[in-house]
Symmetry: C2
Subunit: 386 residues, 2 copies
């Protein structure tokens, strides 16, 4: 007996391209997949030892976090980190620890979107937001980024896209998939528009610890008065190479945090206790961990760029300023789903089709260098045989 | 600058009584709180050792679960467990591993409720559902349980409550807060109504492993054809005493699971990898773990009942058949929020006011025996001084 009575929001969801691609890539033998991105670095041995020494015989580790906003010590660590970075007062009660940045983002959309409200989504942009916005009842207003200007924002398009139903602007920085970091001036201009039009900016800075040399990244939140109308989303996934532990956070005005908290409790009660304990340990070793990860990715980025450069008859791209993927334009005349299938069939290499990142991603693919160097080289050895 | 432009669903949320009570109880010094319930047993040492031996130097543990439905081996273990229990075929692809039963329940509401749809909620019932239903756009139709019949369902009230907007029926069993287990006949009658009226039953069996002697618990899902129109929610939190690890699951028809998966991905991407690895280890030791926990709680239940019996001039209650709390009727003439404040002020003992569980809970409080025996006795020593 088939069932046809799902909620309307479910019927509005398109096929999840990311999930489909990862499944296809995973189900074929001998495929080298650079489609998904998850940090390749294990938790350091010493950290495991410290964590388990604390956890043993301690019922706290099997219990809910006693504070649903998140472990108070962890929020203090985050706050003091933000104070150094942003240069103004940040209070622990302005921070909500979440189950990864996903539940942070989803909580934002449920907290601010009424059915029919519109969200400015820069394309190519993070695919996860698309389903989140639709499930919250929102409509996505795709605004293409300016490829010729290394995927910078185009304010003419932004102004055209805003109307009376517009409620939010969402973007990730460093951008997934392009690796773009925006200038502070650009963000200041965006903030001015947001203030004028009474919009809230959601700055998803999941990749903020992966910014490469010669690029200066300053958070949207460093802008004067940004906090009044902006929400900062961060994740421990990339900072501490712990995406499997599902831990992120929101920094925002206290009245926003109180509503976001109510939504996040309904969704997940609280983030995992062990993940919060791990994050506290990682904070203490942060200098080391950070540098190690960033250096590791930088080397991989260089290798991948060098391999792409050899293939410049077929591909072009902008060197990412941050993140761990490259958004590549292919010259072959086929759509990005077909190009994905073509690469998979011909050389058994999986990449993420550009269309997953919205209409502005068509004609491209995302390829990630969050993988072993051996795997990256093997994938390109195959691609060169095309 | 105050902000007044939250989504309407946010403004419909009432104050979260549970959160408020836990915060009040936590902020006063020397309070003994039996208001919240989280398993008091630590993860066994040996399990920690095995887990960390596997995790060390293994990047898999810091990464997303490779299968967003949940670890395939864990889903196989769950499926084979369900086959034994339910007596029919259960496939791993009919199981979705979630971030606790909370995200499982929230995913269900988002998947089936259109704005204005009604959900039958038995009161007293699990408070978490109230915010979840409202955030999904639903309306709650409270149906009081029959206190004189030991909190059994009242079919006259159920039939009166159903109308054209009714979409779902939700209940927890063993019930949080009453500890009630329903007869298979009662559930069969409910299922008949659901089928006739085209409703979906969500059977939240989070406490299913905590059922005390002399009570037989058979899942709603054991009923013939239940699966066509019912969804089973389970949790590893109580089964394996690991609520802080945030792990639960949904068992349902494959077409339901596919939609629920899309929602859960948008919400959380995947459950924590380490929690899934822990659950697999706990499955292997299950016989032992289960028995240990159930016996531990049974002893605590006996002690709490005995302490309550001594105070039968002030309180009466039904001995719970399962779960780890008792839902107590107090004779004093005041509402349950005031009674909570009164107990807190007079003897520094915190309990959960009955109104948190819907209007059918007024005049009662929930007190949990998921605590050390010493703590339980200390709390009652104080209450006796009232």
């Amino acid at each position: 007996m088939s069932f046809s009575n799902f909620a309307k929001r479910i019927n509005l969801l398109n096929e999840n391209v990311v999930d489909l691609v990862l499944q296809k890539a995973g189900s074929e033998p001998n495929v080298i997949s650079l489609a998904g991105g998850t940090p390749p670095f294990p938790i350091p041995d010493q950290t495991w030892n410290e964590l388990v020494a604390k956890a043993k015989d301690n019922p706290k580790y099997s219990q809910y976090s006693h504070d649903v906003l998140g472990d108070p010590d962890l929020r203090k660590l985050v706050a003091s980190d933000l104070i150094k970075e942003l240069g103004y007062s940040v209070k622990p009660e302005e921070i909500l620890i979440t189950v990864g940045s996903s539940s942070a983002l989803f909580s934002c959309f449920l907290t601010f979107i009424n059915p029919g409200d519109e969200v400015i989504f820069f394309s190519p942009g993070y695919p996860g937001n698309i389903a989140q916005i639709i499930l919250a009842g929102g409509r996505i207003k795709y605004v293409n980024l300016h490829e010729e200007k290394e995927w910078d924002m185009d304010f003419e398009l932004i102004n055209q896209a805003i109307n009376d139903r517009t409620k939010l602007i969402i973007f990730s920085e460093p951008s997934n998939p392009t690796g773009r970091v925006f200038s502070l001036e650009t963000k200041s201009q965006l903030l001015k528009i947001a203030k004028k039009k009474n919009l809230i900016i959601i700055a998803d800075e999941t990749y903020r610890s992966l910014v490469y040399k010669d690029t200066i990244f300053k958070s949207t939140m460093t802008l004067k008065n940004a906090k009044q109308t902006s929400i900062l989303i961060r994740s421990f996934s990339k900072d501490f190479s712990m995406s499997g532990f599902r831990l992120g956070y929101i920094y925002a005005r206290k009245d926003f945090i109180q509503k976001l908290e109510a939504v996040h409790i309904a969704m997940n009660i609280c983030p995992p206790t062990i993940s919060q304990e791990l994050a506290k340990l990682m904070f203490l070793q942060k200098g080391k961990a950070y540098k190690g990860y960033a250096n590791g990715y930088d080397k991989r980025r260089e290798i991948m760029c060098e391999r792409l450069d050899r293939l410049n008859k077929f591909f072009n791209y902008f060197r990412p300023m941050g993140g761990f993927s490259i958004f590549v334009k292919y010259h072959k005349k086929m759509n990005s789903m077909n190009f994905f299938e073509y690469l998979l069939r011909k050389v058994k290499v999986a990449v993420m089709p550009g269309i997953a990142f919205g209409p502005g991603g068509e004609g491209h693919f995302r390829i990630t260098f969050a993988a072993s160097i051996e795997k990256i080289n093997k994938a390109f050895d195959r691609i060169e045989k095309l």
